[in-house]
Structure formats: C-alpha cells, structure tokens
C-alpha cells in the first residue's frame, strides 16, 4: 500500500508510540526511530480498510495506526502489548497493511526477575526484526555509544524543565521523541505570580491537545509537570554509565522497563505514590487527568486518583483531536474552584 520512498533516510523510519521502545536501540541498528506524536483522527478505523468502527475503539490507537500505516515514509511499525487496543491494532495492521509490524510484549507485572528477563528477550527479538528490515546489529560498544548520546540529550532536555513554559517543554519532549533532536531553550520562563500550578497526567498528548496548555493558561494556570504518556514521567532513568561498557543491553532494558511508573503495570501503586510526590514537590493545587475515550486503564483509576490525591482532580475525556467547548467550560469551572 505504500508508494516508493523518496530518500534513503526516509525509507528507514521506524514508527512507534510506546515509551517502552528504546529509540537508541533502533538508532544503533542504523534506522531512524520516530515516536510519532502527531496524529490524524480520521474517523474510519483504518485508512485503507472498508471498515468503520468507532464504538469501543480508542481514538489514540485508531489515530496512530491510521497515520502510521498511511505514511509513505514508514518502513516499519512497532506496537506494544501495553493495552489490548494496541494488541488488536497490530492484528488490524497485519490484516490491512503491507508495512511490517512488530508487536513487542511489554510485561504488565514488574516485580519478578522473570519479567525483567522477558523484557530483555523482547528487546533482542526487536533487534532481530530491525535486522530483517536492513538494520545492522550493533556491537556492544556501538550500542553503548548510542546510549550515551541519547542519555546526554535527555539530560540536556530535562535541564530545560521549569526554564521554559509547560507547553514549550511538552513540545520539546514531543520533538525529541519524534526526531531525536533537542532544541535549545528560549528565554527563561517565569510563571505569573498569580498563576495556579496544576499537573497533568494521563494518555499521550498529540497535535491539538497541546492547546490544553493554552486553555489552562487562559484560565490562570501554569502546568508545573506533565505526567502524561508523552511527558517527562515516561523518560527512562539515566543509564548506569559504569555498567554501560560491559552490559549495555541489560542497562538499556532496566532503564526502559522498570524505571517509570505506569498506569498499566500490575500492581500499579507506584504511580499513585509518584503522583503524591509530584503534587507535593511542585506545590500544585490541582491535577488534570487527560484520557481518551475507551481507554480503560486510565478511566478505571480516575476515582482512585481523586481519592488518593490531596488536591482536586479534573477528569478530561478526549474523543479525538479537538478540545471541545464543554471541556473548556469544565476547565474554567475547575480553575475557578481552585482560586
């Protein structure tokens, strides 16, 4: 279904959406990692398929597979088993698209050494897949060097947190995920004295959802942290540089598998503790849960967040691309309530 790729570089684009996929592992194979952030929310389930199913389908998953499978520069798509919707998305891609698709099992449980080994094995399988695409298996020192580069970039990126506005930082993160580039900070951002700090948590932010930062700012908020699935919460822990030379794969697997708290992990109490810490450290006065319609994992926990956090929670359900009038009104009311 894809037309001929235009350049050597574009032919090697490997698209994924999950934060569990290490960009450096793809890059070390000589391919171009792209954690796609910008989606089209075409209503049909699949651009090339004669089906149109909306009820029960997560718009983010639908948008991701739609865009990934219709982008002519994409060489392969990587999905993870982190939710059932994405697992079924992989079924659809293999049914309707010719783009090679790799489904990686990311264990939901995290407390045993067995699942850590399973994740490592899945990364190795991913490597085999990348080689099948024309990638070259990296030597350990090559992998270590690529990891060092990414680690430095993330360090540079994180240094800008709090120095630029919440929206700018979120866009920098998205840009890094998509291109691997870190843009320099603009002039230092200082939130207005009367701004009320809030924190975001939830599903990935894409495209127009970045406008949410503006809407909150319009009603007097500054976004102190972004714990959505495209925010700083899902960055891997810094690599253990002492071990990098000898066992880069292990270091890579450890950093990506168990270092950030996730709503889908079982048990998932880490994310509740993590949120409590963030709320305290950033002195936020409200938390905003942003989740997609039909996303069970975030939806089911909305009430638990509400009960466990010391500040009010606003639960925003997004169905597609636009931030509707109703959502704006709710944001306004929420912010008024925080004054």
């Amino acid at each position: 279904m894809t037309s001929a790729p235009s350049t050597e570089r574009s032919r090697k684009k490997v698209i994924y959406s999950s934060p569990y996929i290490p960009a450096e592992w793809i890059a070390a194979h000589g391919l171009e990692p792209n954690r796609m952030a910008c989606l089209s929310y075409d209503r049909s389930l699949f651009v090339s398929a004669p089906v149109n199913v909306e009820a029960g389908v997560c718009p983010y998953m639908r948008g991701f597979i739609n865009q990934a499978s219709s982008d002519t520069r994409v060489q392969a798509i990587i999905l993870t088993t982190t939710c059932d919707q994405m697992r079924r998305g992989a079924d659809l891609i293999s049914l309707y698209s010719h783009i090679p698709c790799f489904l990686m099992h990311v264990p939901a449980s995290w407390e045993t050494s067995g699942v850590n080994r399973l994740f490592l094995r899945e990364l190795e399988r991913l490597g085999e897949f990348l080689v099948s695409l024309g990638g070259v298996k990296p030597q350990p020192d090559e992998l270590a060097a690529t990891m060092r580069t990414y680690d430095e970039k993330r360090k540079k990126l994180m240094a800008q947190q709090g120095m630029v506005s919440g929206k700018d930082f979120a866009q920098k993160l998205a840009c890094f995920a998509e291109t691997g580039n870190v843009t320099d900070g603009r002039e230092q951002y200082v939130p207005g004295e009367k701004c009320i700090p809030v924190g975001f948590i939830g599903s990935p932010l894409t495209g127009n959802h970045f406008d949410l930062f503006d809407v909150f700012s319009e009603y007097g908020a500054s976004v102190a942290f972004n714990a959505t699935e495209t925010g700083e919460r899902v960055l891997p822990a810094r690599f253990d540089l002492r071990r990098l030379k000898d066992e880069p794969m292990h270091v890579l697997a450890e950093s990506y598998f168990s270092s950030f708290p996730d709503i889908g992990e079982r048990p998932n109490n880490r994310i509740f503790m993590w949120m409590k810490d963030r709320v305290r450290d950033h002195h936020v006065r409200g938390v905003v849960l942003i989740r997609y319609m039909w996303c069970d994992k975030w939806h089911a926990e909305a009430q638990r967040f509400r009960e466990s956090l010391s500040v009010p929670l606003l639960d925003i359900e997004i169905d597609g691309e636009q931030i509707g009038e109703r959502t704006r009104n709710r944001i306004q009311a929420f912010m008024e309530g925080l004054r």
């Binding site: 389930l45 398929a49 089906v51 199913v53 009820a55 029960g56 389908v57 088993t81 939710c83 059932d84 919707q85 697992r87 079924r88 998305g89 992989a90 079924d91 659809l92 293999s94 049914l95 489904l103 099992h105 264990p107 939901a108 449980s109 407390e111 045993t112 067995g114 699942v115 399973l118 094995r121 399988r125 085999e128 099948s132 889908g264 079982r266 048990p267 998932n268 109490n269 319609m293 039909w294 996303c295 069970d296 994992k297 939806h299 089911a300 926990e301 909305a302 009430q303 638990r304 509400r306």
Partner: protein
C-alpha cells in the same frame, strides 16, 4: 419425530415435582428451581429451560455455587479466587485437596441472573467503573458488597495478554484492599522465521521460550500459594488434577460434538452455554461437575438415538461467538428458528484436553498460552473457521460484549476471515447484561440472519 418444547420456571417446578413423585433421586443441591428466585435470582423467571431433570440438576448446580464455597470454607478448605485465565489455574488449585478455586469473574452474569436487583452495576458506576467497561465490572461491585461469594483466602490474576477491562477492574479490586498475586501471561507471539514452535491444544503454536516462561510463572504461583495459604501443590498432585480435569473436558467435548452433529438439536443453546461454562472452574466442585455433565451427555445421546429434539431438522445451524451477558438471548435463538452448531465463548482452551505426555507444569503453561485471547485475533478466527467447516454451520452470530476492549476490533478480524472463506451470513449483535430495551431489535436481527441462511440453503 417428537419435538421438545422449552418450559417456563413454573413448568419446571411442576415437572420437578412430578419427577420426584415417580421416584427421581435429587442430588443434595437439588430442588425446585423457583427457590433460587427467593434467593435473589429473579432473572431466571424470564428464561425458558430444557424440560429434563438433568437440565434442572445443571441449573441447581450452577445456582448453588455460593453455598458450596461457604461449605468448603466451613470444612477448612482455602478458597482461591483465580481471575482471568479461564480454565488453567483451577486445574492446579483443585489438584490440592485442601483448596477450592472459583472465578470472581463469574459475577459477569449476576446482573442478568438477578435481574439487576442486586444493583451491582449501580455500585460499579458509583466506583467510577461505568457502562463503558464490560459487564465484568459487576465483579468489582461484588467485592465491595461482599454478598455474592465469600471473601477468598487468596486472589491470583493473569495479566499481560489479557483484556484491558479485566486488568483495570482487577487493579481496582486490589486498590480496595484485596491483595492479588499477578502472574504474567505473555502475548502468544508469532514465531520467528527459523523458529520451531510447539503446537498447543486447539491448534495454535507458541514459542518454546514463552512456554518455559509461563511454566516458571506456574512454579512461582505454587510457591506463593504455599506461603500464603499453606498448601503445597506437588507435580504428582497436578498430574492427578490434569487427569480429573481431562475427564470433565472429554465429557464436554463429547456433549458438544453430539449436539453440533445431531440432525435435530437435542439440547437448547442456553443449557449448552451453562454446561460449557462448567469447564472453567468446575463450578467449585470438580467431582460433582462430572456427574452433572455426564447426566446431560446421557440425556443428549438418548435424545439423538430417539430422534427427539428442539425445532425440526430444518432449523438453521448457527455458530455463536462470545458469551452473552443476558442469557435470555440464547432462548431467542430457538425462538427465531436457529440452533447451535458451534460455539466459541472465549474459553475454548478450557475445553481442550490438557497434554499428559509432558511435565505437568509445562502442560498447564501450554494450556494458558492456548487461550484464544492471548494471541492474535487471526488465530482465534482460524479456529472458528475450522469449527464452522467441521460442524457445517450455516450462519454466524458474533455477539459483541458491551464495553469490552477487544470486541470491536476482534469482531472486524473474525468477520473478515469468515467471509473470506465461507459464503454464509454473519451478524454482529451487542448484548447488554439486561437487554430489555434491545429485545425487539435483537430479535429482528436474529430472525433476519435465519431468513438469509434459509434463503442461501435454497439457492445451494
């Protein structure tokens, strides 16, 4: 040819009384079905039943599970709530004489059986788990109200290649203070180019490293179970447990085959669904379930031999995919002129024989990975197609489960696969736990399916 008629609850009571007066021997859980209405199962008033005493045993057995669990507890047994894997862990749990397994997931059907009198769905709503989730949300409410099953001594739940609804709801159960032992069931992946897979019961293939991984998870569960409830399950015990489970599965396999291949339907769709469900955890009594199912098999065989059954030989042979949350819809199939000739209720792996030629924990690992939900929807569709061919099904009903994270997309894959192979009508319906307001449209859709299938029959 004698044509049987399904009977109402009232008629069941009368038939039961008559059967007793002719010397029928009721099992200890036997009795008039209407007594379960008094216990709250008001929904059964609206069902129609097979008219035999053995079918009444089946219903009585189903509706007395809670009593059995309480008796088991009083007898000092430990209750293990096995969640989500549908059929695998109970084999291991029942292997130990001091343990009883049950599925809290079974709360799925409570709103239907109790005609929502239990208000479980309302309680789930209040907990923030609304109708965008599958009916298993009733389980969360059941844990809160504590009215439907005794509090288990231990909860074990599979995660990984499972649905989002269950994973999310089970996490809420744990968040309410019910500790869960989570074990990982990896997505049954496609094999690599030069990788040799191991064929699983049911026909799918799994990579050896995945089987080894799940085997290790089984070992871990055994260890934690020993620490938590003090019961050590040995391999010898599991070997025996597998052999007992296989007896139940063999009986069910025979029952299904006899029903699906009979000229005239010897048992209604509803009773067959209930019988199949027994495979999942033996309805909390592994020995008695065999008695119940053997009785049913004997009845069905007698009916086939005598040419007795429901509807006529011209009824349309329907393959049914996914269980329905409102059991009345199974009655509707016969009312519309259809009969069951093939089923896939999400737990076909619980109906397959467990291998006995390999070490027992590996056998269970293979069973877990054979779960139709653990792999690609294409694998599930392939098995369905093989059974459609085997049983000569003339029409397919894909019954979507409202809110279920897998249904919308799986339905697309399954429908496409069936249509690419067979020239038979396929309809997708959605059945909520209490389907009153949808009854008319469901009936119209089922009737249309039957009509189309009959039309195609004439053309062929």
């Amino acid at each position: 040819m004698d044509r049987l008629q399904q009977i109402t609850l009232e008629e069941c009571d009368a038939a039961y009384g008559q059967w007793l007066s002719y010397g029928g021997q009721a099992p200890r859980y036997g009795g008039r079905l209407s007594r379960h209405v008094k216990d709250g199962n008001k929904g059964i008033e609206r069902l129609k039943f097979d008219n035999s005493a053995v079918a009444m045993n089946l219903w009585n057995f189903l509706l007395t599970e809670e009593e059995r669990l309480r008796e088991a507890r009083s007898a000092g047994k430990k209750l293990i709530g096995t969640m989500k894997d549908l059929g695998t862990l109970p084999v291991m749990v029942y292997a130990h004489p001091g343990l009883v397994a049950f599925y809290p997931d079974g709360a799925w059907w409570i709103p239907c059986l109790m005609d929502e009198n239990d208000r479980l769905l309302e309680v789930a709503d209040q907990l923030g788990v609304d109708g965008t989730f599958c009916p298993v949300r009733a389980m969360l409410a059941a844990f809160v109200t504590g009215d439907h099953f005794p509090a288990p001594d231990m909860l074990i739940c599979s995660v990984g290649a499972t649905c989002d609804d269950f994973s999310a709801i089970a996490q809420r159960v744990e968040g309410l203070g019910n500790p869960i032992l989570w074990w990982e069931l990896p997505h049954r992946r496609a094999l690599g180019h030069d990788e040799t897979g191991i064929e699983l019961p049911g026909g799918a293939c799994a990579a050896k490293d995945q089987i080894d991984f799940v085997k290790d998870e089984m070992t871990r569960i055994i260890r934690v179970m020993a620490d938590t409830v003090g019961a050590s399950v040995t391999d010898d015990m599991i070997v025996h447990g597998i052999s007992e489970a296989n007896k139940v599965r063999a009986c069910l396999a025979e029952l299904r085959l006899t029903i699906f291949t009979a000229d005239i339907a010897p048992l209604p769709a509803l009773e067959l669904l209930v019988a199949e469900m027994m495979a999942i955890h033996f309805c909390s009594d592994r020995d008695e379930v065999l008695v119940v199912l053997s009785g049913l098999l004997e009845l069905v065989q007698q009916r086939v031999a005598a040419g007795v059954g429901y509807l006529g030989p011209d009824s349309v042979r329907v393959f049914w995919i996914n269980p329905v949350a409102d059991l009345r819809v199974m009655n509707m199939l016969e009312e519309c002129g259809g009969r069951i000739c093939g089923t896939e209720y999400l737990f076909t792996h619980a109906l397959d024989q467990i291998p006995t030629h390999i070490p027992p924990r590996e056998a269970l690992a293979r069973m877990a990975l054979a779960d139709p939900m653990a792999g690609a929807a294409q694998d599930r569709a392939r098995r369905i197609c093989a059974d459609i061919k085997r049983f000569g099904s003339e029409a397919v009903i894909i019954s979507r489960i409202p809110g279920a994270s897998h249904c919308a997309l799986e339905g697309v894959v399954i429908k496409e696969t069936i249509r690419s192979i067979f020239d038979i009508p396929v309809v997708e319906i959605e059945v909520p736990p209490v389907s009153d307001t949808f009854q008319a449209s469901l009936r119209t859709r089922l009737s249309a399916l039957i009509e189309i299938a009959k039309g195609q029959r004439k053309r062929k």
